[in-house]
Amino acid sequence: MATVEDRQFRVEPFPGGTPGNQRLVEEGRLPDYDVVGTRPIRHDGTDKVTGRARYGADIKLSGLLQGYVLRSPHAHARIVSIDTSKAAEVPGVHAVCTNADMPSADHRAGDLGEGIVDWYHLNQNVLANDKVLYTGHAVAAVAADSVHIAEEAARLIEVEYEVLPPVLDVREARGADAPVLNDDVRTDLQPAGETGDTPTNVAKHFHYEKGDVDAGFAAAELVIEREFTTETVHQGYIEPHTATAFWSPDGKITVWTSTQGSFMIRMQVAELLDVPISKVKVVPMEIGGGFGGKIAVYLQPVAAVLSKLSGRPVKLNMDRSNVFDATGPTPGSYMKVKIGVDAEGKITAGEAELLFEAGAFPGSPINPGCMCVFACYDVPNGRIDGYDICVNKPRTNAYRAPGSTHVALATETIVDEICEAQGICPVEFRLKNAVKEGDERVDGVTYPPVGMWETIKAVELSDHWQSPLEGPNRGRGIASGFWFNFGGNSVVAATVNEDGTVSLIEGSTDIGGSRASVAMQLAEILGIAAEDVTPTVVDTDSIGHTDVTGGSRTCHATGLAAIKAAEDIQAQLCQRAAMLWDVESEQVEYGDGATLTGPEGKTISFQEIAGKLTQTGGPVVGRGSVNADKHGGAFGTHIADVEVDPDTGKVQVLRYTVVQDVGTAIHPSYVEGQMQGGAAQGIGWALNEEYHYGDDGRLHNASFLDYRIPTCYDLPDIETIIVEVPNPGHPFGVRGVGEVPIVPPPAAMANAIFRATGVRMRSLPMSPPKVLHELLSSDG
């Protein structure tokens, strides 16, 4: 078999896209599908362009009350007392609640599929009764006839605080003198290590080691060690959190909310309110963005408690400052990373020490950070230590490839520095060191077939890389990134309608067009048009447990469930045709063109047999249920061209290309959209975005004016090159696509800034004041 280096590739336009939408094609290997790879109009599209789609805040119910949540003005304080009596007396107020109105929680770990949660910590995060740990931490809530009455009443709630000193920096927080946020936290050494016995802010210490690290560095010709910092950033979804709940007199709780995972909301609400999951129904509304930030509960249990107390449905909406103050964010970090290379530019060893903010309670994405830091390269000897450290900021949450963007900044800029020092082209270095099938990560896991090498090859062949960049203060950088993706539980049920169409129901909330890509996979198997499938996202009483829309899992795992449902329909239709023809079902085949064929040239179309279901045994429903575990990893490599204004330090992106191995693109437009959107978020993280805290721990920029995400005027066209190295764990080869595009941008931008200015940026964001400071320092 030819080695990967001998294979012939070209980059060409991806059919149906604009000229900036391309793909890498291997000579002699093009996918051959009817529906997969086409660009149908998404099924939910018309509702979304006409304003008819109903999001979380759009729910209306008879007798609906509006609520308001009172939040802590302090970053760190003990709650001495809460007196709600004055609020309760305000005319129009129907209920006031505090943590005391929720069942008490104990320290038990809940497994949310993709991660764990300590129920006591979640209880305290939803409504604090012991300590407040960040400004904006919820302490009480009011339900009233209008939100204005609720707000006025909430201001009458008297909370007595004993203010404590806050700690905001991970390096300070792990020190012996630091104020300890949670007296129940002990350092847990993982995987499979022991737990410490003294209260600390360091909740977890992850340790990975492979090979002989010291010998690896000793064998290196060049060793580079650098320190990096990144600031706390927010997912920045445009729709604020919202929840509406009704606690019925029969004990059933219905929650209408926008979430990435209605079944995870059901589990969290049931657990925190101490009711069985069967008593909770979560109705997923359309969701206005999540990126990892709409998985945990905030308002849902509070709305339910207010509903129980008032006997009426209650709606709670956050405003934008609440969203910044109390939800999200993703951690700030401190990182020290060291890489050694031999004279030929092959990596001999890597070492990393990573400190991530957990926020108020344990749970930062430090472990994936550890596992991603050297994931793109074949690192024979490695040692990685990562620490999950509590600080007085909101409890951190996942944000698109959680942890990987941080560490890519470190590794990818050191790689660029190595290339510069050794005079090696960054593309050549990456082709030489890229991980391939069978390579072992530092955590010990070996790779299945992956497309890291192919993404570099696509960069090499791209018009962008081959077009020279000219002009002063301009530079081009590249960087790579990795994300695991996820599989998990998904359920699809698909009913054949008499007119030859299929109604598909699923539990995956649709954040970015997944209804379409799931429906397309069912259509491909059945040989019908995507438009002949009607996909609907249903509530938790109507379909089986489906994990979050996150981890880049939906197109893969819910797609697998749709494929299984389609195969189930095929098998049942073969039986029906056998009945019609009076033959054995084994004699019937479901063939191409949605046609069933039997003995003696008998044929019947899907459309025809769909009209004969009543007389052959009744409606046909296909079922697909999976717990997918062969999702394959995803790699991406980005090219950034920038121009740096030497007078202001402002970085302008001139041209940007995202190259990514997606396995197989089901709906290329939405795959490109994920690549472009992830890159835009990464560019924002690179250049602008950061939480500004005062020394008192108050967040100073809790608005979109001061926490500035990229606008369309800040960004260039974002070109895409889709690489399709099929995932053997999916019939069409689907990998996840949503997360990895956020990983390379900060490093690609930093490398481009270096090529433009000669200055290495090792601290995010690379905002004008910081870039200017570095420019001026380097001149002096």
């Binding site: 770990a109 809940g110 497994d111 949310l112 599929g113 993709e114 991660g115 764990i116 050494l189 993982q190 995987p191 499979a192 290590g193 022991e194 992850f206 340790h207 990975y208 080691e209 492979k210 997912q235 999540g290 990126f291 990892g292 930030g293 998985i295 994405p365 472990n367 994936p368 596992m371 996942a398 944000y399 698109r400 490839a401 959680p402 955590d443 010990g444 896991v445 070996t446 790779y447 299945p448 994300w483 695991f484 993706n485 996820f486 599989g487 998990g488 979050v548 996150g550 981890g551 880049s552 899992r553 717990n627 997918a628 575990d629 062969k630 764990g729 996840g736 949503g738 997360e739």
Partner: protein, 87 residues
């Protein structure tokens, strides 16, 4: 025999051994065999007879949905990993 990768924090129990071959047909039995050879290993990975919260088992590079029940083939590679939350 299946091969098991010992996580770095547990190598204090295995005398620094990183990878071992052990006779076992399931992950549960593999942990039992490890604990027999390296007393204390089971306590590092199990709680009340189940995998510790958040701990996962990967077989041949894929985090198995079956956990302790995952079946092992003679050449299977086993890793202990933590659950990874995506965005």
């Amino acid at each position: 025999m299946p091969r098991v990768h010992i996580p770095a924090p547990a190598r204090d129990l295995t005398g620094g051994e990183v990878e071992l071959e052990l006779e076992a047909t399931s992950v549960r039995r593999l942990i039992g065999a490890l604990d027999e050879r390296f007393p204390g290993f089971a306590d590092r990975v199990l709680e009340d007879g189940e995998l510790k919260p958040g701990l996962r088992v990967a077989v041949d590079g894929h985090v198995s949905a079956m956990g302790l029940l995952a079946q092992l083939e003679p050449g299977s590679q086993v890793h202990f990993l933590l659950a990874i939350g995506g965005g």
